[in-house]
Structure formats: structure tokens, C-alpha cells
């Protein structure tokens, strides 16, 4: 006889996961100070008073429900997470129902969809959890049949007794299985035995995205919801001096015009919100609004000033040293065969296709949020702090995200929605226009790299990099601005360092009011260009083939396997003299990606990209088609940042306001992309981001190969090489 407490707990799980009737629920929790998650039944979780992390529930009809505690922003978690579970649980993909988790740090641990972590951060736990559930179902069938468990196996949602052919559906076993304890250990399948993992199964969210039924943040509506748009100070850190709302209030449908603020790192961004009963009226009201800004001295910031400051800082600023060996400075000073190059990369807007938006309903000192959110647990905690609430009083609901790329992990827009809802005492959806989205930031920081290298014969004997640019971590309240940026080697193949006797990596942080944050692949997105361009320049100086030059410095066989594959698939050895071939290899979020770009001259003399080959070594992976899609997408995003768009600043404001000036890559500019995935025994690495960093250098190295012209500043126009 179970206690009532246990029954309540099960009912709660059933309610949360939308299941009917009795259910068998298995999840994991993190015991205090433990490194490994522990598998536990829902009932026992309530007895031990611990909260379960992600879990699997099976109901009496055999339907499996899993909670996806990560966002779905295009990277395929809605497919790859159930594919992992179906494999070890031995169920059909069709029998799995996946639901979004609400944001809760205590329940799910980290939920941030960032760092390409959805699979690599949880696959081992998910495999173990699913295998444990399967073993408990087999055990309960064996008990019912009074046979040896070893004579039974599971297949497609059934347990089968091999000698007799007897068969029981999982649904018929859930009640018995709930009474068992999870096995202490389970044996996981070998990848060669996988039936579902490693298969290019179609994504379950695809049909929703081809008929308009997928609900993104902007599509979400809740009863009584009003719409808000906000006129924010276009200058970073600027304030509202005064505003005249008479004309705005005269627009039919406009209900409120109120001052509003949202938190951007250590500062509050100020603006004036126009709230109406429909979005169009709110937009018209905003146009009629007159605001006088206090620009606070920030009207003088410009791109020219920022880059001049960064370039000067290599000689005048204090470099914070991150990683050194030997004496790179002395090696450079005394060397005969040496090279110096400076590389420049731009600020960038994330420009997700779905502009920022968020619904908030503040009522009775509780807050509920709905939106396209990458880090629901962060939003829960941070917005609670800012609103003076307890985290438990803030509920964060996720929708599909129309792109994220790091931007939708920020708390500004949920905070702004919460502030407005509280002020007007009604549920409200804040909608950012494309112009708001593109000009307000946070942006990817522009960086400048000063690289110095020394060759000893054909080998690198010294490698020195100074990086100038904003340190994202320095923006947080109370940040130690004397701390170095430990991300400045991201993207670099650190294995190189074992063969280089002298090296030094340091940064000279730039102070600027421009808010900056992660952009797909973060610092690797700019580091990759500098490091892999400079390695190429050293290879040329050493008069060596760029692939062979890289290979001789890398001792680890994993890199050689990748280089060999890249050499083979791209036809590197037999490349024609009329074409330019360039290579770059970077490492990001535990995955290594090598890319080769082929360029040639079109009949009009302009450079065109003919083809791109990519080899992805992400170790263990789930769905090869999703991996390929992520590689293709990363390359296209890198293409845009290399040859199409950048955010500039003038008079303290972002210049590019929409896609007419922030030019995106278009279908006619993207050539064939051929993707290969390495099969090996390595642990899972990231998939969503690591193919972005090598592209730009592979392209500019190819252009050098064709034309002898070295491009050290991006973006550049292919038409003007």
C-alpha cells in the first residue's frame, strides 16, 4: 500500500506530462555533491524529497512521454532526444510524445540551449535512463510469467519471452514495473547494434513547420493579451528625458503609454512602451510618440573610433596573459624567418528570423512568461531577482524559437515584458520590430588579432597572438575587469601547442558601452578566421602545402584522420591550377571540423565560390541528417559574416537597421556543400555551432591560392577582390 504522498506525486507527474491513467515514471536527480546523476522513480523522488530532472513516463496504453528541457530553435532536439530514448527503451519513435519543459533550475538543472550542449551534455544519462526503464519492464514481465529474465528481451514496445514466444505490451507492465527498483547497472548497446541512433530519421517537427501549425513565440496568444511595442533609446546607455504621448494615445486601440526599462548587463535600457489591443495600433501609436532622449555622452561612439582604439591598444594597452610557454617575445625578436599579421572581424547582429518577443502576465505577485527562450531557467531566476520575486513564483513556458544563435538566451526582452505587464496589470506581448532587433544589441563583438609567428625550417617555433576586443564577461555587475579572457584560444586546435616550443596568448580588453554577447560559436566565430589564416600564412612562408603543414604539427591521430578524409573527399591532391583551394580546421565545443573551399574566376573576372567540403568529427552522434543540416547552416551563417554583412556604429547608434542594409546571404550565393561525418569511438561533441568557425579562413585561404591576395579584414565583397 502506497502512502498518499506517493500517489499525489504520481498524479502530479501524470498531470504535467498529459498522460492518462497510471504511469511508470523514471527520471534522474543530482544528489548533493555528486558528479553523476542518479536514476530514480517518481514515487521515490517524492519520498526522498528530491526533484527529478528530465524523465520518461510510460502510461498504460504504452505511450511514452518525455520532457525536453532544452529549447528547439532549429537544431533538432525534438528529434535527436527521442531518438536516443527510443533506441535503449526499445520503442517506436511514433510511440514517443515530447513536451516542452517549463523553466526550472531546481527541476532540470541547466536548461540553456547553448554551447552546442543539448546532446553532448546529456546523451550518456539519457541512454542509461532509457536502458534502466527497459530492464525494469523486462523484469516485471519475467516475474509475471515466472521465467528467467535472461530468456526475455524487449522490442518495439513489447517484452517477449524467447522460448515460448509470449509477448506483453509495455502498457500492461507499467504498474508492475513501478514497484521495482532501478537496476544498479545497465549495459548499453554498442554503436554497431544501434537500430534508431545513427539513422537519418525525419524530424518530427518538420510537418508542423511546413503547414504553418508550429507555434513560435510571436504566434502565441493568451486570453486578454494586449500588445506592446517600445521606443527605446537608440544610443547605448541613453535615458529618457521626457515624452509627449498625446498623439500616440489618440490612435484607436492604444490603451497605455508608459515609461519602461529592461536590464542589459549592468545597466537599465530605457524606453517608452505603447500598449494597444492589437499590434498594428501599437505600432502606429509608437510612430506618433515624441520622446526626448538624454544621450548621456554616448553619441560619439563610432566603428572607426572603436577599431582605431583596438589597433592602438596592441602597443599602448595592458595585455592580460592567458596562456604562455617559453618566450615568444624573445623568439620573435631574434628570429630570421618570421611573420606578423593583423586580422579584423566585425560586430554582427544575430538577426534571428523571428524578431524578439515575449508574453508576460504579472498577477498577485506571480509572473508567468511565454516566449522563444533559449535559457528558461536563467530567465526564471534573473527576472525573479529583477522583479523582486522568488524564482518559484516565476513560470517560464517555452515555444518553438524562430532562430536563437545565442541572442535568445538573454534576459532583456522577458524582463521588459514583465515590467510592462506589472505596470498595466494585464497580460501583454512585447514585440520587437526588425529594426529594434537589429539595432539594440547585444551584438557579436568585433575583434582585432595581432599574430606573430616564427618558423624553424618548416615548423612553427613560436606562435603569439594578442586579441583586442570586448570581453563579454566584463559587462556583468561587479565583474573583475582585470581578468583575462580564457576564451581567446577557442577555435584553435590546441594540439598544435604540443609541437610549438614558444607561444603566448593574451588579450587587451576594450571598454565600450556597446552590449555584446554570444553569437553562434561565440569567440570561435572570429578566432577561427585569425588563427587559421595565420597558420596558412606560415605554411606559405614555409613553402609547404597547407594541409601537409598542418598535419606535421598535429600528433593526435584523430586530426590526421580528419585531414586525410578532407584531402580525399575534396580531391585536394589533384586540384586544378585554374581553381583556388583553401583549407581551415578548427575545434569548438569538443568537435573538430575541417573545411575546404574551392573558388574560381567567373567570366566577368569576379571571384565565385564553386563548392565547399566539410568534414565534421563530433564523436558520438545521433542523427546524421541533422548533423549535416547543422553543418550546412553554420557554413551559410559564416558566409554571411564573411562576405555580406556587419553592424557598424555611427553617432553612438547601430547603422544597419534592417535587411536592406544588413545584407544576408541568399540562395543564389550558396554553392553545393558536401558534408562528411567521421565515425569513431570519441565522446559526443557539439553539432550546432562547430562548423561555423573554419569557413571564413578556408574561403580567404582559397582566394589567396587563386589570386595571391591575402584578405585580413572581414567582411569583404567577393566582387571587389
Amino acid at each position: 500500500m502506497k502512502t498518499s504522498k506517493q500517489n499525489i506525486s504520481r498524479r502530479n507527474f501524470i498531470k504535467l506530462s498529459g498522460l492518462t491513467g497510471a504511469a511508470f515514471t523514471l527520471g534522474f536527480y543530482f544528489p548533493a555533491n555528486a558528479k553523476e546523476a542518479k536514476i530514480i522513480k517518481a514515487d521515490d523522488a517524492s519520498v526522498l524529497n528530491v526533484e527529478l530532472n528530465a524523465w520518461i513516463s510510460i502510461d498504460t496504453s504504452g505511450k511514452v512521454t518525455i520532457i525536453n528541457h532544452r529549447s528547439e530553435m532549429g537544431q533538432g532536439s525534438f528529434q535527436s532526444v527521442p531518438q536516443i530514448i527510443a533506441e535503449e527503451l526499445e520503442v517506436d519513435m511514433n510511440d514517443i510524445n515530447i513536451v516542452f519543459a517549463q523553466g526550472s533550475q531546481t527541476k532540470y538543472g541547466s536548461q540553456i540551449t547553448g554551447g552546442s550542449s543539448t546532446i553532448r551534455g546529456s546523451y550518456q544519462r539519457l541512454l542509461k535512463l532509457s536502458a534502466s526503464a527497459r530492464e525494469m519492464l523486462i523484469e516485471s514481465a519475467a516475474r509475471q510469467w515466472k521465467v528467467e529474465k535472461t530468456e526475455c528481451y524487449a522490442e518495439r514496445g513489447h517484452v517477449i519471452h524467447k522460448p515460448s514466444g509470449k509477448k506483453l505490451h509495455y502498457g500492461a507492465l507499467v504498474e508492475e514495473a513501478s514497484k521495482l527498483q532501478p537496476p544498479a547497472q545497465v549495459e548499453l548497446k554498442r554503436p554497431s547494434d544501434y537500430k534508431i541512433i545513427r539513422k537519418p530519421l525525419p524530424r518530427q517537427d518538420t510537418p508542423l513547420k511546413t503547414n504553418g501549425t508550429a507555434i513560435f513565440g510571436l504566434d502565441k496568444k493568451i486570453p486578454g493579451m494586449l500588445y506592446a511595442v517600445v521606443e527605446r533609446n537608440p544610443r547605448f546607455l541613453g535615458k529618457v528625458k521626457s515624452f509627449d504621448d498625446a498623439a500616440a494615445k489618440a490612435v484607436p486601440g492604444v490603451k497605455h503609454v508608459i515609461p519602461v526599462k529592461m536590464r542589459v548587463f549592468s545597466h537599465d535600457r530605457e524606453g517608452v512602451a505603447v500598449v494597444a489591443d492589437n499590434l498594428w495600433s501599437a505600432m502606429q501609436g509608437r510612430k506618433a510618440l515624441k520622446v526626448v532622449w538624454d544621450d548621456n555622452g554616448f553619441e560619439h561612439h563610432s566603428t572607426e573610433q572603436l577599431y582605431a582604439k583596438m589597433n592602438e591598444s596592441f602597443s599602448t594597452g595592458k595585455a592580460l596573459s592567458f596562456k604562455t610557454k617559453g618566450d615568444a617575445g624573445a623568439a620573435y625578436a631574434t628570429a630570421s624567418k618570421k611573420l606578423e599579421a593583423v586580422y579584423e572581424t566585425p560586430y554582427e547582429s544575430h538577426s534571428c528570423m523571428e524578431p524578439l518577443n515575449c508574453i508576460a502576465h504579472f498577477k498577485d505577485n506571480k509572473l508567468e512568461i511565454w516566449g522563444p527562450i533559449q535559457g528558461p531557467d536563467w530567465v526564471q531566476k534573473d527576472v525573479a531577482d529583477l522583479m523582486g520575486l522568488k524564482a518559484d513564483d516565476v513560470t517560464v513556458n517555452m515555444t518553438f524559437l524562430g532562430g536563437g544563435f545565442g541572442r535568445k538566451a538573454f534576459l532583456d526582452y522577458p524582463h521588459e515584458a514583465a515590467v510592462i505587464s506589472k505596470a498595466i496589470n494585464a497580460p501583454v506581448q512585447v514585440v520587437w520590430s526588425r529594426e529594434d532587433d537589429m539595432t539594440q544589441g547585444p551584438f557579436r563583438p568585433g575583434m582585432v588579432y595581432q599574430c606573430r609567428g616564427v618558423l624553424d625550417g618548416t615548423r612553427m617555433s613560436s606562435f603569439e597572438t594578442k586579441v583586442a576586443g570586448q570581453n563579454m564577461g566584463h559587462q556583468n555587475p561587479g565583474a573583475n575587469k582585470k581578468s583575462y579572457n580564457s576564451s581567446i584560444t577557442e577555435g584553435f586546435l590546441e594540439t598544435y601547442l604540443d609541437s610549438i616550443p614558444n607561444y603566448s596568448f593574451s588579450d587587451v580588453p576594450l571598454e565600450s558601452p556597446i552590449p555584446v554577447m554570444w553569437w553562434r560559436s561565440v569567440y570561435s566565430s572570429t578566432n577561427g578566421f585569425a588563427f587559421e589564416s595565420f597558420i596558412d600564412e606560415l605554411a606559405v612562408a614555409a613553402a609547404m602545402d597547407p594541409l601537409a603543414f598542418r598535419r606535421q604539427h598535429l600528433w593526435n591521430g584523430r586530426y590526421h584522420d580528419l585531414i586525410n578524409k578532407l584531402e580525399e573527399v575534396s580531391g585536394w591532391k589533384s586540384r586544378s591550377k585554374n581553381a583556388g583551394f583553401g583549407v581551415a580546421i578548427t575545434e569548438c565545443f569538443n568537435s573538430i571540423v575541417g573545411e575546404v573551399v574551392k573558388v574560381s574566376k567567373a567570366t566577368d573576372g569576379k571571384i565565385k565560390i564553386d563548392k565547399i567540403w566539410a568534414v565534421m568529427d563530433c564523436g558520438w552522434y545521433v542523427n546524421p541528417d541533422i548533423v549535416k543540416a547543422q553543418v550546412e547552416g553554420s557554413i551559410v551563417m559564416a558566409h554571411g559574416a564573411a562576405v555580406k554583412h556587419a553592424t557598424h556604429f555611427k553617432d553612438g547608434m547601430a547603422v544597419e537597421r534592417n535587411f536592406d542594409s544588413y545584407k544576408m546571404s541568399r540562395i543564389n550565393e550558396i554553392p553545393e556543400i558536401e558534408v562528411h561525418i567521421m565515425d569513431n569511438e570519441e565522446k559526443a561533441g557539439g553539432v550546432g555551432e562547430p562548423a561555423l568557425p573554419p569557413f571564413t579562413a578556408a574561403l580567404t585561404n582559397a582566394i589567396f591560392d587563386l589570386t595571391g591576395k591575402r584578405i585580413r579584414k572581414v567582411p569583404f565583397s567577393l566582387d571587389q577582390v
Binding site: 530553435m73 532549429g74 537544431q75 533538432g76 525525419p202 524530424r203 517537427d205 518538420t206 510537418p207 508542423l208 513547420k209 511546413t210 503547414n211 504553418g212 501549425t213 508550429a214 507555434i215 513560435f216 510571436l218 504566434d219 484607436p252 492589437n278 499590434l279 498594428w280 495600433s281 502606429q284 538577426s351 534571428c352 528570423m353 523571428e354 524578431p355 518553438f400 524559437l401 524562430g402 532562430g403 536563437g404 544563435f405 520590430s433 526588425r434 541528417d625 543540416a629 547543422q630 550546412e632 547552416g633 553554420s634 557554413i635 551559410v636 551563417m637 558566409h639 534592417n658 535587411f659 536592406d660 544576408m664 546571404s665 541568399r666 540562395i667 543564389n668 550558396i670 553545393e672 556543400i673
Partner: protein, 159 residues
């Protein structure tokens, strides 16, 4: 405010709105058809593409008054069961990632293969280069349009 009669997905709908309100917001916020997306508001990204009398049209800059008495088709009206050849091809080739721009892409592609049943790469470039996909699904869109062309040819030959 004015009362305007629209024919959306073969149904007559009467709306009482500002005649200057772009069709996009009427579809999304008045008619409740949220499959059509807002991306830029200045006709640069294609996310808001619908068919007006069979032709692809950017609904973000089209005043609703200009759509009166014309036949409007949105993604919801292309087919309700993903049976349109372009939708089928999009699923076969696994085109969408985040999916936000795909309604517009699909509407443009459907208009293209209706106009040119077997489009060349050049035809695809000129019909689709007004559409931005930030996830970078372009190579799959190209492939899917060719697949859609095959599917619709097969459907036509089956009668």
C-alpha cells in the same frame, strides 16, 4: 476603420480594420492565421509571402484594402494535410530547421512550380533569392524544389 471582405483560403471573411493595415497583420491578428510570418516589414525577407490571385505577394507591405475581393492563399490554405507537392518535398528533403521562414519559402516555391513546372537552377535563384533563411537551408530548398517538381509531374501523369 472600414469593413472589408476578404477571400482567404476559399472562405469569405469580413474584417473591420484600418484599411491601411498590412494584410500580414490582418491575417495573423484578426483572422488568426499565424502561419504567415513577420520578418522585416519592408519586403526584404519573404517570410510574409502569401498568394494573391495565385501570385506570390509580400503581405507585410500590402494594405489590406488592396487585397479586397482578391483570392488570398496562406500556408494554411496550401493544403491542410501537407499533401501539396512542395510540402511533401520539404518533408522528404528535411528542409526546415527553426522553420520560421519556411511558410514564405514554401509559398514562393509553390508559385514557382505552378508557373514553371520544371524549374532550372536559374529559375530557382530568381524566384527564391528574395527569401532569407538565417538557418541556412538554401541547398535543401534547391533540392526540394526539384523534388517537388518531380512529385507534381508524377501526380499530373497519374491524372
Amino acid at each position: 476603420m472600414a469593413s472589408i471582405t476578404l477571400k482567404i483560403n476559399n472562405k469569405e471573411v469580413s474584417v473591420d480594420v484600418d484599411p491601411k493595415m498590412p494584410l500580414l497583420w490582418v491575417l495573423r491578428d484578426v483572422a488568426g492565421l499565424t502561419g504567415t510570418k513577420y520578418g522585416c516589414g519592408i519586403s526584404q525577407c519573404g517570410a510574409c509571402t502569401v498568394h494573391l490571385d495565385g501570385n506570390p505577394m509580400r503581405s507585410c507591405i500590402l494594405p489590406v484594402s488592396a487585397a479586397a475581393n482578391k483570392s488570398i492563399t496562406t500556408i494554411e490554405g496550401l493544403s491542410d494535410d501537407n499533401s501539396h507537392p512542395v510540402q511533401q518535398a520539404w518533408i522528404t528533403e528535411q528542409v526546415p530547421q527553426c522553420g520560421y521562414c519556411q511558410s514564405g519559402q514554401i509559398m514562393a516555391a509553390a508559385a514557382l512550380i505552378k508557373r514553371i513546372p520544371q524549374p532550372t537552377d536559374k529559375d530557382i535563384d530568381s524566384a527564391m533569392q528574395g527569401h532569407i533563411c538565417r538557418c541556412g537551408t538554401y541547398t535543401r530548398i534547391r533540392k526540394a524544389i526539384k523534388t517537388a517538381s518531380l512529385i507534381s509531374t508524377q501526380k499530373a501523369s497519374k491524372g
